[in-house]
């Protein structure tokens, strides 16, 4: 077995084990035997326990796995495509756009479903705007232009968010906005699953389909073209897929940073920069990391610890460590 196969199967096994452990953990005391019985046959356990296992923990675990996977895959694809280790899924403004959509929906007092829908739409719209502006500029290197435009649009959208926060009702809306911006899986239920699964699955499959060619994007544009790669079209495709994944994730979870930045680096450290191996390992690492963070966040105290806070606490030292070792793989 190759190193890659060992790493991938071990991390998948670890993630499954983690999910099983997470299913047995929570504020509501459920014995492990009851968890297993509830999984096999709902009618064997009290209704409350079946509810906790099936309607609270399972969707939430699935949600954390999907969001972690989406953010890590998007981050890996972006880092590969931009040939830049500092880009993250939100480099092109998808998180900022999603935040503006969600914050606007909270400001207007819309329902949870509308908040998610507007967040999703906002994320896509922000990236579309970045693409529109950047494609009109031909003076600079296209990748640099994209990143700079992403920063500009994120800044602009950030002003919109600040304005809404400033105008929001400080007693009802502002706390809701603050909590959304911190990210949370607290209300992730069964009906959120389909909405999150569709865009994320579509996007990850789309990335998987072009996994070979994404490697070629790390070459100079001229070299890649000489090899017959339609560089511009492929870039647009990767941006679409990564944006879809990130927007789908952020819409249901709120802003959760660091995963899309740090996890691909960890994966690269283990299996190297080759995208056909990097993508699956990033996906599994991201899912496991997100699940671990969310399980901690929901079990540590009576109140929820927002995952965005925990990922930053774990992610920033890990990133510093990775920076110190960066020569190993570059």
């Amino acid at each position: 077995m190759t190193r890659y196969a060992i790493v991938l199967s071990a991390s998948i096994a670890f993630t499954i084990a983690l999910a099983v452990v997470a299913l047995g953990l929570g504020r509501y005391p459920v014995a492990v035997s009851d968890v297993l019985r509830a999984l096999v046959d709902r009618s064997q356990v009290p209704e409350a326990i079946a509810q906790v296992v099936w309607n609270v923990r399972l969707p939430r675990i699935a949600g954390a796995l999907m969001v972690g996977m989406a953010l890590a895959c998007a981050g890996a694809a972006f880092q590969q495509m931009f040939r830049n280790p500092l880009v993250a899924p939100d480099t092109l403004g998808v998180s900022a756009g999603a935040a503006l959509g969600a914050v606007g929906a909270i400001f207007l007092g819309l329902s949870i479903l509308a908040i998610q829908a507007l967040a999703f739409a906002g994320g896509l719209a922000a990236v579309a705007l970045v693409w529109l502006i950047a494609s009109r500029m031909r003076t600079l290197d296209p990748l640099v232009t994209l990143i700079l435009t992403g920063i500009v649009v994120a800044g602009l959208v950030g002003a919109g968010i600040s304005l809404i926060k400033y105008l929001a009702d400080p007693y009802n809306q502002l706390p809701a906005i603050t909590f959304w911006l911190l990210g949370s899986f607290a209300s992730f239920g069964r009906q959120d699953l389909a909405g999150a699964f569709l865009p994320i699955a579509l996007a990850v499959v789309a990335m998987w389909l072009v996994r070979w060619r994404v490697n070629l994007l790390t070459l100079d544009d001229d070299e890649a073209r000489a090899l017959g790669v339609p560089v511009g079209a492929l870039r647009a495709y990767v941006i679409c897929a990564a944006t879809l994944a990130t927007a789908g994730a952020v819409a249901v979870s709120g802003i959760i940073g660091w995963i899309g930045l740090v996890v691909p680096h960890c994966a690269r450290l283990v299996v190297g920069p080759e995208f056909t191996r990097l993508l699956p390992v990033s996906a599994v690492f991201g899912a496991a990391f997100m699940l671990a963070v969310d399980t901690l966040g929901r079990t540590m105290a009576t109140i929820e610890i927002p995952p965005g806070i925990l990922t930053a606490l774990v992610g920033s030292p890990v990133f510093v460590y990775l920076l110190a070792r960066v020569r190993r793989y570059e």
Binding site: R27, R57, S111, I112, D169, I303
Partner: protein, 346 residues
């Protein structure tokens, strides 16, 4: 004769400029003009108190009123301009706009921490307008009403309203005292779009629950006396609240459709109560006198046997703005009816 008129005029001027010293909740002695015709309320809680004591003296609102709030307020009060808030989370008032309305006094009610004391002193230095700070706890409201009434020249109204609040809180406290702790309903206060934000015991936002004899299921984490926190649904399932109180009218319908909420007793038994929030929230937003209505409303839901009398007549005395009171009464009666029909059904 001319001399006498001049003398009278002088006396009148002197009287108009006369100042009284008021000690606010921070212990600062602030010199306040003896006659006050206009008061700037620095934040939403202060607006409510000034509105209750002397609606004619309110200089303006901290934010533009929403269209659904206007019908609840007397037209001359609803017409007042938007001046921005001086305090709280973010400062939206422009000092020049504030000065242009020429208030005689600025009042803020809420936190009395050093942050707000220094802000108050800075505003007074810049504008020359005296600035009073009071604590916003509902338990201390009678004292606040007396002090504020005296400071803005409506001592009699302040005394009357304070006596009413005193009597109301005392009656409620004495009747609740007879109910053993174990028989008081366990209540979850659901906030935010998903209903999973809550105010733990001891927080300003949950004061109404405590005064109304509820056992707030949300315990603050040790060492973090937070005001608003997010909790997990599992935690709510563990708490098993008998009753959920919310301010979001869409919440009961939203949770009914969510399977994961069905194991919560309050959801199963359809005991979710939406606190009215127009023009001011009955539970916590803004944390001002309006919460007394919340206490009177909630206590009837939680302890119907101890409080058999309907909410109506009591809440009519509540504020001088009679329109407000009447509309509120009508609204709260509807809530009582809903409660009654639910009680019959179960």
């Amino acid at each position: 004769m001319r001399r006498l008129v001049a003398l009278l005029g002088f006396v009148a001027c002197a009287w108009a400029n006369a100042q009284i010293a008021v000690t606010d909740a921070t212990g600062r002695a602030v010199n306040v003009p003896a006659t006050i015709s206009k008061v700037h309320a620095a934040g939403p809680p202060a607006s409510v108190f000034v509105l209750a004591l002397a609606p004619g003296k309110l200089a303006g609102w901290t934010r533009a009123l929403r269209s659904d709030e206007i019908p609840f307020l007397p037209p001359e009060v609803a017409r007042l301009p938007e001046l921005g808030r001086l305090t709280g989370r973010g400062n939206t008032a422009n000092v020049e706009v504030l000065m242009a309305t020429r208030p005689d006094l600025i009042v803020d009610i809420g936190s009395t921490s050093q942050t707000y004391v220094s802000l108050a002193e800075r505003v007074t230095q810049t504008t020359g307008i005296p600035y009073l700070l009071f604590d916003g706890r509902l338990r201390d409201t009678p004292r606040l009403l007396r002090e504020l009434g005296r400071a803005i020249g409506v001592a009699a109204e302040g005394e009357a309203l304070a006596a009413y609040v005193d009597a109301s809180l005392a009656t409620i406290a004495s009747r609740i005292a007879t109910i053993p702790e174990a028989q008081r309903p366990r209540v979850f206060y659901a906030r935010g779009p998903n209903g999973l934000a809550t105010a733990p015991r001891g927080s300003l936002q949950a004061e109404v629950l405590e005064l109304a004899g509820a056992r707030n299921v949300a315990e603050p984490p040790p060492g973090f006396p937070g005001n608003l926190v997010n909790v997990s649904l599992e935690q709510v399932l563990l708490w098993q609240p008998d009753i959920i109180v919310t301010t979001d009218s869409a919440f009961p319908a939203a949770v009914r459709g969510r399977p994961e909420w069905q194991a919560v007793p309050a959801v199963k038994n359809e005991r979710i109560y939406v606190a009215p929030e127009l023009p001011f929230g009955w539970i916590d937003a803004p944390p001002a006198l309006n919460r007394l209505l919340g206490v009177e409303w909630l206590v009837r839901i939680l302890h119907p046997k101890a409080f058999p009398e309907p909410l109506g007549p009591a809440s009519r005395n509540f504020t001088r703005a009679s329109i407000t009171a009447r509309r509120r009464t009508r609204r709260s009666k509807r809530c009582c009816v809903r409660r009654a029909s639910r009680a019959n059904a179960s």
